[in-house]
Amino acid sequence: MTEQAQAGAQTDVVGGRVESRGRWRDFRRVFFGNRLALTGTAVMALFIFCALFAPIIAPYDPYEQDLTAKFAPPTSQHWLGQDELGRDILSRLIYGARVSLTAGLAAVAFATVVGTVIGVTAGYVGRWVDSVLMRLMDVILAFPTILLAIVIVTILGPSLTNAMLAVGIVNVPQLARVVRSAVITVRERDYVEAERALGAGNLQIVRTAILPNSLAPLIVQATLTLATAILDIAALSFLGLGARPPTPEWGAMLTDAFRSGFGVFVTGQHAIIFPGVAIALSVLSVNFIGDGLRDALDPRQRR
């Protein structure tokens, strides 16, 4: 090992700050140099803006019906037209950003917290604890995710909250695995040994040395999970296991339009197209961000 490399390893011990500042600059350069990631961030920011200020932006009440304007096509008053009950689609989409994005985020937050606890425990403690936890994760992974989510929601009762919980649960194993393998590579590093030598307890080691250094793969995986979580929650809504009418959730909007009969395919095409575009755009931008984060945080993948 050269002098320099040793010095580098030491900055790790003294404080993550010295090293992380360089890393942050590096991260910004790669992430914001990636046009797709930038676009994704911009689109996501727009959606979040809509979600936050829905009551101000939305031109109409998302629940206000007008049965005389069933599937009325887009006009200058109703930019995206009206749905099967004559409700303004644009307003419903803007309010829907709240429901759909929050639901996705909540599911991922649940999966991330539980997955991290399981992953750290398995990776740090090792031995039989590791085996038991990982076998349990394998069993969950053996189920096709949507099927498992369906069963969980059936047990808990259909509601948007339970759909979020179900999607959260089925995504725990993936995150736990990522965290575990990151922890295992970090565990044997010199700086962890140094912390221990300085008399740090297990919890403190996990908090100051293990977690910060396992963060990069976790962030990437959590972002990519958010993309599938939004899709899965929409799918559960479609099956009648998520958001219930008249909630303006994007997946539920498509479902309600579909259930109104075959006429929707002929006269209500706009009621199908726009909610789907909203879902696809948000998921696509999350995927762009996730790919960008992976390139920026994982130097091995960088080209």
């Binding site: 096709p144 296991l241 395919f265 696509l284």
Partner: protein, 317 residues
């Protein structure tokens, strides 16, 4: 693994609120009658015994009767299986037939316009809700262009032999039926196959790129082999390993996707029955679908491991 799966399914179904005997008999049934049925169903025995009975039932194909139709659930599922098999095989075939070549071309021409376009397209494919894609297909091909029929599996009667509409119509030389069945199959297969197609494309591309940087590829080029030969014989075979794993994992996605696709296209397969039994709270049916679905998924991935050994002689079991 299968033991773990069966234990989990068993306990999850026991967690579903409500006493099955009470549900079967209705709220007005007398307490004695409910107890009697509980005994008859084996619900009064200790849990481990119940579990063993459940496993025996699963293996012998006796998982109880559907609360809705009164027929044994396995019988119902078997009758519906060919329709789902036909749909998922068509979707998978489409995904593999398009995904692998496109992934290879994108990798060989890395950074070309083609590569960038396919990357974005593949990412878009992963980002679309499957039920939205299905509805858009119907709008375009059934309503606007009036090219493809909707809904159902065929508009011409086909006598059932294997239950696979395409095979049956050919066997009975019913070409009109074959044409109809094929046209009906296109939209559901595209809707169901798009996500796996996108994932396979991405996986093939990235594993091809990885393999192309290996020393043995440079050696093969240096030997003066035709680039085509290097790509297909030396690179693709090694790049196939991760791709095969991903293909196996796609079957899990396909099963979830089949529930949605079959519901939209009124495709009378297992997915449709799953959807119906969810809405009718037909627990015996849900239990059977999930258990057999997971078992099927585990077996597929076992098959993938075997394929691995064939593709990669270094792996031996």
């Amino acid at each position: 693994m299968l033991i773990g799966v069966s234990v989990l399914v068993f306990f999850m179904v026991r967690l579903i609120p409500g006493d099955p005997a009470q549900i079967l008999l209705g709220q007005t049934a007398s307490q004695e009658r409910v107890q009697e049925l509980r005994a008859q169903m084996g619900l009064d025995r200790p849990l481990p015994v119940q579990y063993l009975l459940f496993v025996r039932g699963a293996v012998t194909g006796d998982l109880g009767d559907s609360i809705v139709t009164g027929r044994p659930v396995t019988e119902e599922l078997l009758a519906r299986f060919p329709a789902t098999l036909e749909l998922t095989l068509a979707a998978m075939l489409l995904a593999v037939a398009v995904g692998i070549p496109v992934g290879v071309i994108a990798a060989v021409r890395q950074y070309s316009v083609l590569d960038k376009v396919t990357s974005v397209l593949a990412l878009t494919g992963i980002s679309m809700p499957i039920f939205w894609l299905a509805m858009i297909l119907i709008v375009i091909f059934t309503v606007q262009l009036q090219l493809l029929p909707f809904p159902g599996r065929t508009s011409v009667p086909i006598s059932s032999i294997t239950g696979l509409a395409l095979v049956d119509s050919l066997l009975t030389l019913n070409f009109e039926g074959f044409r109809s069945a094929l046209l009906h199959l296109i939209m559901p297969a595209v809707a169901l196959g798009t996500i796996p197609m996108a994932i396979i494309t991405r996986m093939t591309r990235s594993s091809m790129l990885e393999v192309m940087n290996e020393d043995y590829i440079r050696t093969a080029h240096a030997k003066g082999l035709m680039p085509r030969r290097v790509i297909f014989k030396h690179a693709l075979r090694n790049a196939m390993l991760p791709t095969v794993t991903v293909i196996g994992l796609q079957f899990g996605l396909l099963m979830g996707g089949a529930v949605i696709t079959e519901t939209i296209f009124a495709w009378s397969g297992i997915g449709q029955i799953a959807y119906e039994s969810i809405n009718r709270r037909d627990y015996a049916m849900i239990q059977a679908v999930v258990l057999y679905g997971a078992t099927f998924f585990v077996l597929i991935n076992l098959l993938v491991d075997v394929l691995y050994a064939i593709l990669d002689p270094r792996v031996r079991y």
